[in-house]
């Protein structure tokens, strides 16, 4: 491996930054031959499989297949350097670990240090620090940071059109066999209903728990839409909604939600 010039792949979706990184690398590490370039994760994987470079510079955020996903494909078959935009979550995720990373705009001194470290590893033929386990952990950390936001829009087909319903305008959701009925009000006060394919169970996990409450096995209600709750006999209750005639059932196991009201 050390007999020939070391080879590299640069994967970066912004062309100016791709060229700039290559320029900077020729200055701090003249022996390194950038043999291939990629504009997205999919191309990065293809190019890696075709050229098997020693070092891969991977932009974390790329369209389609991300840099992280490309990294998991490459595994420890190459020394990986992640390139990330200034983004506190991503930078935090890297700062905690031992993986090599650069922050855009790439600082020349830092790039020189990274290059020196990589040269040392290549010279001593040490294996890459980016083990499968570390890459998996990194993917999980970044995934967690992006996936935790609650649902904001529900996509529904109304006639020929696909509409986005703002979640805060939804009055209630009602399970109907495999489908879910969404009832909402528009800004002008018009009441609307639509049926979506996403099961209620799947939606309930994504809704903001401070705004929505499940009151029945098949009903989720927006707490802001409740006009009043009427206690019935036999440990049940009915939910009456603001500006709507529908009365929703509260079953026994969810009654505790309204105990103190």
């Amino acid at each position: 491996m050390t007999a020939q010039r070391p080879t590299a792949l640069i994967a970066e979706d912004e062309p100016l930054l791709r060229e700039s990184l290559e320029q900077q690398l020729t200055l701090v590490w003249p022996e390194l031959a950038v043999v291939t370039r990629a504009r997205n994760g999919r191309e990065a994987i293809e190019q890696f499989d075709a050229h098997h470079p020693d070092v891969c510079f991977l932009d974390v955020h790329m369209p389609g297949v991300t840099g992280i996903e490309a990294a998991r494909h490459i595994g420890h078959r190459a020394h990986l350097v992640f390139v990330t935009a200034y983004d506190q979550y991503a930078v935090q995720a890297f700062a905690q670990g031992v993986l090599d990373y650069l922050v855009k705009p790439v600082d020349a001194t830092r790039l020189a240090q990274t290059a020196a470290r990589l040269q040392e590893r290549l010279r001593t033929a040490r294996s890459a620090v980016n083990t499968e386990v570390l890459l998996q952990q990194l993917a999980a950390t970044l995934e967690r940071q992006t996936a935790s936001a609650p649902l904001r829009w529900i996509r529904a087909s109304v006639g020929q059109n696909v509409t986005l319903i703002p979640v805060q305008d939804v009055d209630f959701l009602c399970a109907e066999e495999k489908y879910t009925m969404v009832a909402w009000h528009e800004a002008g006060g018009t009441l609307r209903e639509a049926v979506i394919r996403t099961p209620l169970k799947e939606l309930s996990a994504q809704l903001d728990a401070t705004q929505f409450a499940q009151v029945h096995r098949s009903v989720i209600v927006n707490l802001n839409s409740i006009a009043r709750v009427v206690r019935g006999s036999n440990e049940t209750a009915d939910v009456h909604l603001k500006g709507r005639t529908e009365v929703l059932p509260v079953s026994r196991s969810y009654l505790h939600l309204f105990r103190q009201m």
């Binding site: 979706d13 912004e14 062309p15 100016l16 930054l17 060229e19 700039s20 320029q23 900077q24 504009r39 997205n40 999919r42 369209p63 389609g64 935009a85 200034y86 983004d87 855009k104 705009p105 790439v106 992006t146 996936a147 936001a149 649902l151 904001r152 829009w153 529900i154 996509r155 059109n161 696909v162 509409t163 986005l164 703002p166 805060q168 528009e186 800004a187 002008g188 006060g189 996403t198 939606l203 994504q206």
Partner: protein, 319 residues
Amino acid sequence: MLPFYMVVGRTMVVGFAALLAFGLFERWPARLPRWFARWALQVLAIVLAVPLGAYLAYWLTTGGHPQLGAVSGRLQGYVELTFAGILFAPWIAVGALVRQRDTFAREQAAAFALERSELERRALDARFRLLQAQVEPHFLFNTLANVQALVEVGAPQAAKVLKSLIAYLRAAVPQLHETVTTLDQELELVRAYLELMHMRMPDRLMFEIRVDPTLLKLQCPPMTLLTLVENAVRHGIDPSEIGGTIEVEVRLTSSRCLASVTDTGVGLKVTGRGLGTGLASLRERLQLAFGAEAQLALSEVAPHGVRAEVSFPARMTQP
């Protein structure tokens, strides 16, 4: 001579009758014709209740045989009691009603003040978030990285890009005193942003802005179009390997300003997750500025892409 307790007793019965009438007609009937005020009904009821109450007082104190005409002095006593009652009771009732109204007015004023401060707080919140949302470090540093790359190689584009960045920053940096900008200013901001993004992804982002020049002086809530365009770039074009085109169009339809941003990007994800902080806060800002008169709608376009439409009342800025 009649014993004193008898006089007090009869007066109290009359008083209770008046009170009962006052209380009863305060609630009943639930609805009154528009021309008939409730206070008038209450006072009228008291005027009628007094003679009835006085008769009841005599009936009770005489063991069920008032015999007003037969026993001497009784009729005079009844008339005096009724007269005194009718003389005083309605005034006391009117006094009570006035006080009740004052209290009600005070409570309502307090409720209004509370509501107003709540609205003001929401407006401030929205404004604060707007200021916070401006110029994301992520965007700024990425753009600067591009500028640096251009400068390093001595590319002549560098000056043009810096110009766009300055135009963008000038428009996007908090303008605390301005709550309304013109469409002209907003479009300048949108154009600067799109030019910067086009420099960053020249092969993936195309854009077109179509606006009738006569509309440029229309009012536009700050960051309305920019939020839609940023959203189209972030969630439509950026995730797509092949990218797409963004079309910005502003039209006037029956005194409403209709602005649309259409992209040919990846379209909406299955549940629309992740699409949103910007749009949610834009909705809130529009609602605070125009109430129910502003609308924001998203829809999917074929074969792939999203169309965001916002419409609000068209108003000219003061010259």
